[in-house]
Amino acid sequence: MSAAGNRLGPTLFERSRHGRGGDKVPHPPKDALARIPAEHLRTEGPNLPELAEPEVTRHYVNLSQLNYAVDTGFYPLGSCTMKFNPKINEWAARLPGFASLHPFAPDEIAQGTLQLLWELEQALAEIGGMRAVTLQPAAGAQGELTGILMVRAYHRSRGDLARTEVLVPDSAHGTNPATASMAGFKTVSIPSAPDGGVDVAAFRAALGPQTAAVMITNPSTLGLFESRIGELLEAVHEAGALAYMDGANLNAIMGRFKPGEAGFDVMHINVHKTFSTPHGGGGPGAGPVGVGDRLLPFLPSPRVLRETDGSFRLERPGERPTSIGRVRSFVGNAGVLVRAYAYIRAHGAAGLCEVSDDAVLAANYLKSRLAGVLDVPFSRPCMHEFVASGATLKRETGCQTLDVAKRLIDYGFHPPTIYFPLTVEEALLVEPTETEALETLDLFVEALERIVGEAHDDPELLHAAPTSSPVRRLDETTAARQPNLRWRGMTGSQTPCPD
């Protein structure tokens, strides 16, 4: 299936016609706002579009058909874990008992959700080998911030104020150093060794009494398991620092490696990656954080507690003064967490172990089949993803990884992650996940083989790609130099209205 679809249509504002739509809510009495002083009231607008329901429906249905999604086809986006989103999870999250529950509902009428959250915490703690879990953070990056703020609180509680640095491998996702900065730490970047792991000597040299924490992604962003992890964690603790695990790649290791048991003090989990909650076009997700004993007192509040009589309640304000406090309103992205809970209960222990085994199997299969097609810098077995490089292809044909990616679109596939991690030239990070059929993987390999052939024989096909999508390559320069971030009907400074 080609990613071709309809053409773009007009915006809501261009479709709007005065007097259309309405009758969704009852009409208020004329004097409804009479008691409100005039200075508080709007004098005009808001200028929102007016459309009738059939137009609204067609507008969004047509827009949806311009999208490629997991439900459309293979999405081997490395580090994103684009696995299939089971539909039972959507049904579950929409059950009125879950969807209509107010976040300030008294504990006694929220027992269902409280139990679900508590059980989910237990399950994630078991999977991560951690002592306890908070479900509060709204995303992985927010989980990272939560974790690093807890590390900060830990050192402060011990009067250790000299720890101002966080070590981060140079292959790390950008959120790691950004998180360290937000938490008031300086990031020290550690180079990778030729085999793709962390350079141990550089790591040891950078560790010291000034180190608050190290942030390690394992498996790394290169899709490789850090075989020296035991040595690294020992060095970290010897230096009095704490070890944070970026759990973005958890899909590779469930049942085989438990970060907490191995010595990590804190980790975050991306439920929208490993636990199948849908990506939604960029969110929402959730970023639960697991901790060991050292950080337990600092977990965000309120925690979900289980009483001796088997009922559940939220911690009360002020009940645990050592907490770092809140990182957001209310308890967490409960609607997302319902989906993660459903996924975990559906799979059970055996199922989750199988998920990791199959993810790793699929990635190694693709890696083996692509070995002759693109450069594959690391020959040892990969985990759930692997990195390939278009460096040789670029030298030989002038076609870059970007061109290969755009041409894959014409073959009906979403491209892998490109130009990440930063440590590999012309990188492609490929993560098939465990929910793809073997035929799909083979078709993907075939497509890449043909594209590499085209790069040699007719490179213009790649440079001009994509040609079958609703739009072709975009002018991102003008978009950044003269940003048009909002529809302005009056000024008319818009591009031509597509009909």
């Binding site: 208020p28 607008g45 929208h272 994509p466």
Partner: protein, 464 residues
């Protein structure tokens, strides 16, 4: 597959895990079929009570969501798509984000609105941090009447650096009681040794009151500070917008725009600003452009602000946002239209007037006299106990304010209640009748010398 790879078993692929660190499986319950799972989930959902007559707001609101919203959100092309990094095959997501930015731009009056932040609390915290970066000052003032969760979140976000967060007190007595104290604000802004980067005030406030936002704006700007306004999106159909009263940054919670209550999330952080601050705003932005053939198209832009490029110098570490919730808000606004949104807001106000009258007649007058839109606090003797008893009679009587502000004597015996367009007269009558009876019962017990707390007033989860 194993043959192609060249190994004998899957175990061989995990050789890099050092032997002493290998786990051996997971200690979790066994798998369940879809039918069994469905049963389990139904059972859990039914242990929540969502059928009560509800008067609870306090930052999350019940509104009527047109049926078309969820129908469209269920399209797999929307909810199973990823962040639109390959714009050529993500125009659906990209155009809807641009439209969201535009719709919220209209409501708030801000030039630039981000593609979403996590929720109102984090959006407010980020708005405050923006003010610090833009002014290069280190102190932020936040009204005590801003939602307690937002203030707590701000405190947590501020704990990473050298920034100071001070609360502006509220007026204690008189007509303006419960609103932000302008004289105190002016004094706090005048400290020459501690210049202020931003002033954060909510309208309506957490207590439901309308605040003197134009005056806040004037005072803040005279002192060289930026004004961060916390706004509620449905109210913006009828209330003056942040742009109208001079805000530099507008933040708020988008949940009332077609997003289910869902015990607190996923919600929608609204974050917008005037054009000169655009480079400071965290989160994704979508812009309109053209493709190589001159066709209109949409693309994520000003990307160099974000964490994957800026890394340790990024304004924020945000990556995943609340995109699908922003889509829900857009579809809601498209479906309900400007007149429908106005009607929802005005109907809420009308019901709130009815509620105020009914509760006052039942013995629970308003705590304050300043104007409100659709939410307000009432004085109820022994509020926590009465709230519990009303719960058992099928009424969710708002929020016990002492639960979120335990140290505040002025909120000791008070409930925060709200009404929206879905509140019915029948529910209001039910609430008022039950309340009158419970207040009377409490009065009788007090008169006969027995404290109401002595009789079965156990907080520990009595079954309903």
């Amino acid at each position: 597959m194993l043959e192609t790879i060249g190994v004998a078993s899957v175990d061989d692929l995990f050789g890099d895990i050092p032997a002493p660190l290998r786990a051996s499986g997971l200690n979790l319950p066994p798998p369940e079929s879809e039918a069994e799972l469905a049963d389990r989930l139904c059972d859990l959902a039914e242990r929540n009570r969502v059928d009560l007559a509800g008067f609870l707001g306090a930052g999350a609101y019940r509104h009527y969501v047109p049926a078309v919203v969820d129908q469209l959100l269920l399209r797999g092309e929307f909810y199973t798509a990823y962040t639109p990094y390959q714009p050529e095959i993500s125009q659906g997501t990209l155009q809807t984000i641009y439209e969201y930015q535009s719709l919220l731009g209209e409501l708030t009056g801000m030039d630039v609105v981000s593609a979403s932040h996590y929720d109102g609390a984090t959006a407010t915290a980020e708005g405050a941090l923006m003010a610090c970066r833009a002014t290069r000052r280190e102190r932020v003032l936040v009204s005590h009447a801003v939602h307690p969760h937002y203030r707590e979140t701000m405190r947590t976000y501020f704990s990473g650096g050298e920034l100071a967060l001070d609360e502006i007190p509220l007026v204690a007595d008189g007509r303006g009681a419960g609103t932000t104290d302008m004289a105190a604000l002016e004094r706090m802004l005048a400290d020459p040794d501690r210049p202020v980067a931003g002033v954060v005030v909510a309208n309506p406030s957490f207590l439901g009151l309308l605040e003197p936002m134009a005056e806040v704006s004037r005072l803040a700007h005279v002192a060289g500070a930026l004004f961060v306004a916390v706004a509620e999106p449905v109210s913006l159909a009828v209330l003056a917008s942040p742009a109208a009263y001079g805000a530099d940054i507008a933040v708020g919670e988008g949940q009332p725009l077609g997003i289910p209550l869902s015990y607190g999330g996923p919600y929608l952080g609204i974050l917008g600003c005037r054009e000169p601050l655009v480079r400071q705003i965290p989160g994704r932005l979508v812009g309109m452009t053209t493709d190589v053939d001159g066709r209109r198209a949409f693309v994520m832009t000003l990307r160099a602000r974000e964490q994957d490029i800026r890394r340790e110098k990024a304004a924020s570490n945000i990556c995943t946002n609340q995109a699908l919730c922003a889509l829900a808000a857009s579809i809601y606004l498209a479906a309900i239209g400007p007149h429908g949104l106005r009607d929802a807001a005005a109907m809420g106000a009308a019901r709130a007037t009815e509620l105020e009258t009914a509760l006052a007649a039942a013995g629970a007058p308003r705590l304050h006299s300043a104007p409100y839109l659709n939410e307000f606090a009432v004085r109820v003797p022994d509020a926590a106990e009465i709230h519990r008893r009303l719960l058992h009679r099928g009424v969710l009587a708002g929020l016990v304010l002492a639960d979120v502000e335990p140290g505040d004597a002025s909120l000791a015996d008070a409930l925060l209640v709200c009404a929206t367009e879905v509140t019915t007269s029948r529910e209001i009558e039910m609430f008022a009748t039950a309340l009158r009876e419970e207040i009377e019962r409490g009065r009788q017990l007090a008169l006969s010398g027995i404290a109401s707390g002595a009789f079965g007033a156990d907080d520990a989860g009595a079954a309903i």
